[in-house]
């Protein structure tokens, strides 16, 4: 079957729609972006000024570093929350409960990120639900603004990316033979040593895939960050947006875009190298 399919001429034609999509909507714009980033805003001549601006203005580098560190932090937080959940769903719950819990996790993702962010604003703002409840309970005596803090951004980012961490980890834990866990116990292992030596190494590829996806989602997030963080969010995507839309400086925005993209690729590559994971294997 496979070989006869391979021999069928013109099978690659079926790839054309996808290649068109990627070519027209991904490769082409990025080539354009790349070119723009090396052009002078007025003359269009070759220049490195756009990149120099990034490294010279400490605001941009600071925002960039803040975005990266914050993204790493929220990714780790997401991992810390997702791993036990994924473990319990795959290894502890019965078939029926598994479905219920999984549905409860997936259901919120049927709502768009934008709507989710708006609902949180209803919850978190000074006149919002949480503030109101705390006042009624007598815990605080006047309204508190929960929006526009780092922790609000973190809560939002973790929430929007939970699913993308839980699913790959669940997939990898599903393939872990329960008898390996029993064998570890039988040989004298306890909870932590079995976790450390058997379960986490086995789930490694899933953890890796989840972490990469979540990190990228966080790094490139715009909606949740701006709505929950407001002016204080200082997210790098916001800087790019400002260059393009507010200042009409496409070239500067393009340079920022290229910097973000290049950094992400190198960062992921380094992490994969350090953890000795193979992306094709992990995926």
């Amino acid at each position: 079957m496979a070989t006869s399919l391979k021999r069928a001429k013109g099978l690659w034609l079926l790839l054309i729609p996808m290649l068109l999509w990627i070519g027209l909507l991904f490769v082409l714009p990025h080539v354009k972006l790349f070119m723009l980033s090396f052009m002078d805003r007025r003359t269009g001549a070759f220049t490195l000024a756009n990149y120099a601006a990034f490294f010279n203005k400490s605001l941009y580098t600071k925002v960039f570093i803040r975005t990266v560190v914050f993204s790493i932090f929220t990714t780790l937080l997401t991992l810390a929350i997702s791993f036990p959940a994924a473990f319990i769903i795959t290894k502890v719950l019965g078939q029926k409960m598994k479905g219920v819990v999984l549905m409860a996790i997936i259901l919120p993702y049927w709502i768009s990120e934008l709507i989710q962010a708006f609902t949180w604003m209803v919850l978190f703002r000074e006149t919002g639900v949480i503030s109101y409840l705390l006042q009624r309970l007598g815990i605080i005596d006047h309204g508190i603004e929960f929006l526009y803090h780092n922790y609000t951004i973190a809560i939002g980012l973790v929430y929007t990316s939970l699913l993308f961490m839980i699913i790959p980890i669940m997939n990898s834990l599903d393939t872990l033979d329960d008898s390996l866990i029993e064998a570890a116990y039988d040989l004298g292992g306890d909870f932590w040593s079995t976790m450390r030596e058997i379960i986490i190494p086995h789930a490694g590829p899933g953890i890796m895939v989840g972490s990469i996806m979540v990190f990228m989602l966080n790094l490139g997030n715009y909606v949740t960050v701006t709505l929950l963080g407001g002016k204080n969010s200082l997210w790098f995507t916001e800087a790019i947006y400002n260059q393009f839309i507010v200042r009409f400086n496409q070239n500067q925005g393009a340079a920022f875009g290229v910097i973000l993209l290049t950094f992400s690729v190198i960062f992921v590559w380094i992490v994969l190298k350090i953890t000795k994971q193979d992306l094709t294997e992990a995926m």
Binding site: S179, A183, Y185, S193, E197, I198
Partner: protein, 373 residues
């Protein structure tokens, strides 16, 4: 050897909801012996093993290992280790790390000591120098040995084996069977082996417990089990057997021997159940214990060969009985020795056997018999 008891089950029962997987099972396993639990799938044998290992808790009854009651001792604190059916080697570690896993959990040993002990254990199972290999670089037989070494390095009081040879091909299984027996004899560790394969159990064990529907049918040495099965189930499950259905006991020769009537032919047999004249019985006769003589002779049962199945060292010959008033046939295993008579399909032959080659039992409800000879 003194009769020190390593493992002891006292009236152990295990229920899963409405299902009684293990029903009032008691036995003692002497130190240093090779003990097998033999039964068809679903008989409860794996549950027994998992209770000894500590992965299941008995609903009632007590389990003792080395004299200590272990009902409430978790698996990682018991002095017994298990070789899993699918081996459960850790694929994320190399062979050496697999073997040292248990040692590392114990603590108090230097890395050099642990590695030396692991190398020793690997050498004992014939895997010297393969410590750095990855698990998926090993053959099925080698993986088997790693699983053994990983447990044996901990010097357990009892080694539990959950049918680990089941996944191997025939030749390798036979080789590993002997090797396992030699290893056990050399180390003197008590082995508890779970299997549905009676050839493995008969070949390796000092003692076999036959279990069916969660209940012990018989506990005996292999030869005893084979020659003098205690129940109808053991007679039909262990070894090949001819089974003649629904005969009558005509008289008792003495306490042990009864004369039965099958289709009008008188046959002697050992009384497996306390039968009395007039009782309905089934008669089991070992095919290799039947003597076959060509032609018509006095003092035997006359038959005609209807089928000959060549099987290498012997032939299985199907003989239809000529003098019975209902269709009856017996399988006879004829060894290909020099004295073996030459026979062909259609030949008239005379069959005979000693009374103790046959065992008579009350018939049991057919729906309860899962495996027939």
């Amino acid at each position: 050897m003194s009769q020190e008891i390593d493992v002891s089950l006292v009236h152990v029962t295990k229920k899963f909801g409405d299902l009684t997987a293990v029903n009032d099972v008691s036995f003692d396993i002497p130190k240093g012996s090779f003990f097998s639990v033999l039964g068809p799938s679903g008989s409860g044998k794996t549950t027994i093993l998992r209770m000894i290992a500590g992965f299941e808790t008995p609903t009632s009854g007590d389990i003792y290992i080395g004299g200590e009651r272990v009902n409430d001792v978790p698996p990682n604190k018991r002095r017994c280790n298990m070789v899993f059916q699918r081996l459960a080697l850790f694929p994320m570690m190399n062979v050496l790390d697999n073997v040292t896993f248990g040692l590392r959990r114990r603590g108090g040993l230097s890395k050099e000591e642990m590695n030396r002990m692991a190398e020793d254990a690997l050498a004992r199972v014939g895997l010297k120098g393969l410590g750095q290999r990855k698990i998926n670089q090993l053959s099925g037989g080698q993986q088997q040995r790693v699983a053994l070494a990983r447990s044996l390095v901990l010097d357990p009081t009892v080694l539990l084996l959950d049918e680990p040879l089941g996944s191997l091909d025939l030749k390798l299984r036979q080789a590993m069977k002997l090797e396992l027996k030699h290893l056990q004899a050399r180390m003197g560790t008590t082995f508890v082996y779970i299997t549905h394969d009676q050839t493995i159990a008969l070949a390796m064990s000092d003692t076999i417990a036959v279990i069916n529907h969660g209940k012990i049918e018989q506990i005996a040495a292999p030869e005893e089990l084979y020659r003098r099965p205690a129940t109808h189930f053991v007679a039909s499950f262990v070894g090949e057997n001819n089974k003649l259905r629904s005969g009558r006991v005509t008289r008792l020769v003495d306490d042990h021997i009864c004369e039965t009537d099958f289709g009008g032919i008188p046959m002697l047999g050992r009384a497996g159940d306390p039968v009395r004249p007039g009782d309905e019985v089934d008669l089991f006769i070992r095919p290799e214990m039947i003597t076959l003589r060509p032609g018509k002779h006095e003092g035997g049962i006359l038959g005609k060969i209807s089928e000959i199945n060549f099987d290498g060292s012997h032939s299985l010959i199907v003989v239809d009985l000529l003098e019975s008033n209902r269709p009856l046939s017996l399988n006879v295993k004829l060894q290909h020795t020099e004295e073996a008579p030459e026979v062909e399909v259609g030949d008239i032959v005379t069959l005979s056997w000693r009374w103790d080659a046959a065992n008579a039992f009350y018939p049991v409800d057919q729906s309860h018999i899962e495996k027939e000879a």
